[in-house]
């Protein structure tokens, strides 16, 4: 067994160090080592998006990132979305719009939606559906998720003004 590797990284804007085996995914270390269980394992091969985190500025499936690759990178998870007890507008809009049912895909959608709106503050419905197509939801039929992201976009824009 190859020995563990020491990794220095940043998670939700705080410096973090951990030891991991090279074979461990970022998702595994986030959940089992750092106990950030917001990112969920839905498929473990990049097809459901439930483990989405923002990795050095871009959304990735954390199940398809080796934890050792986090060396020197920045990681943002759903746990970092709310700001000192205040829900992020996307989280607020998901709640008010009943955009979740079982809730297991929700963290991935929230993080992907944040990346989407950071990148494109005024998306069309198609932009949203295209941008969130790597995130599967089996409960909602997506309708209320898309509407919540539209509402969040409006709110974020009015806040920006």
């Amino acid at each position: 067994m190859s020995k563990k590797v020491h990794v220095t990284t940043s998670v939700n804007h705080e410096p973090v160090e951990f030891l991991c085996e090279p074979r461990q995914s970022l998702l595994e270390v986030l959940r089992d080592t750092l106990r950030l269980t917001g990112a969920k394992e839905g498929c473990n091969n990049g097809n459901c998006g439930a483990c989405t985190v923002i990795f050095s500025g871009v959304p990735v499936n954390s199940c398809l990132v080796l934890a050792v690759e986090a060396e020197g990178a920045t990681v943002e998870t759903v746990e970092g979305l709310a700001d000192h007890g205040h829900l992020h507008p996307i989280q607020k809009c998901f709640l008010e719009g009943a955009a979740l049912q079982c809730g297991v895909c929700t963290p991935g959608f929230l993080v992907a939606a944040k990346a989407l709106l950071d990148h494109n503050p005024d998306p069309t419905e198609h932009d949203i559906r295209f941008g969130l197509a790597n995130n599967l939801c089996r409960c909602t039929g997506y309708d209320k998720i898309v509407k919540a992201v539209q509402a969040a976009a409006r709110e974020l824009q009015s806040l920006a003004k």
């Binding site: 871009v58 398809l64 080796l66 989407l116």
Partner: protein
Amino acid sequence: MSNFDYAAPTSLAEATALLAGAHGTARVLAGGTDLIVQLREHLRDADLVVNIKKIPELMELSYSSQLGLRLGASVPCYRIYEHAQISVAYPALADAARIVGGWQIQSRASVGGNLCNSSPAADTIPALIALGAQCVIAGPQGLREVPAESFCTAPGRNVLHKGEILATIVFAPPVPFSGSAYERFIPRNEMDIAVAGAGSWVKLSADGTTIEQARIGLAAVAPTPLFAAEASQWLAGKSATDKTFERAGEFARKAASPISDMRGTAEFRRHLAGVLTRRTLAKAVERALG
């Protein structure tokens, strides 16, 4: 997943030395969106995984209308389609990069990785073939070049020898009156492997009526991504009309030797090769006409 050693070299020389000197199986990690799944599912094994994203030239993305495009093997797909000039100069490449998995995949997956994974269904390879891209391979003996259509040798296999790394993919500068397009067919609208794919590049006469040159690449209709040579040659000198595109589609259909699997029947794939060739030719011409 079986355990392995990990290295993240910062130079090509260091990387090729690591790969050449590795005991057991060494694997290159670019975006990891194929490799990590394959290791996890024991479809491939590794004693050493070499992350090549810390090597500057492999992350290079440089374009100029004189020199063309140099695409480092590890550059993630999203950087390609977000690059305004590249999307205009090599639209087929941008078309393909935009549909490799979803956004989370495109944040990691690279065109170089797509080539080296050497899947017959790879979305970017037909675009590379159509655009006449050259693959620059670095190894212990230095650099060598291979045209994109010759890179893959069988499903999951390619021309790379032990110790070699695909370093850069080079594209000639775009010529006037040229255009390109890539399209695939999938049952959903995202997150699928191509049932079939086609990439087309055309150069038109100055008056835009005649196809002077064309190149067509096909995906998922043969053991490797395919350069449809006959169709491409036949197109030279033909008028840029729907009839011509239809005919070229028939050549593409003939070139296809697909299999049946859970993603589609051989019959359906052969049919799609024709449809997609016709559609991408039409789009390429449209783009050539600006």
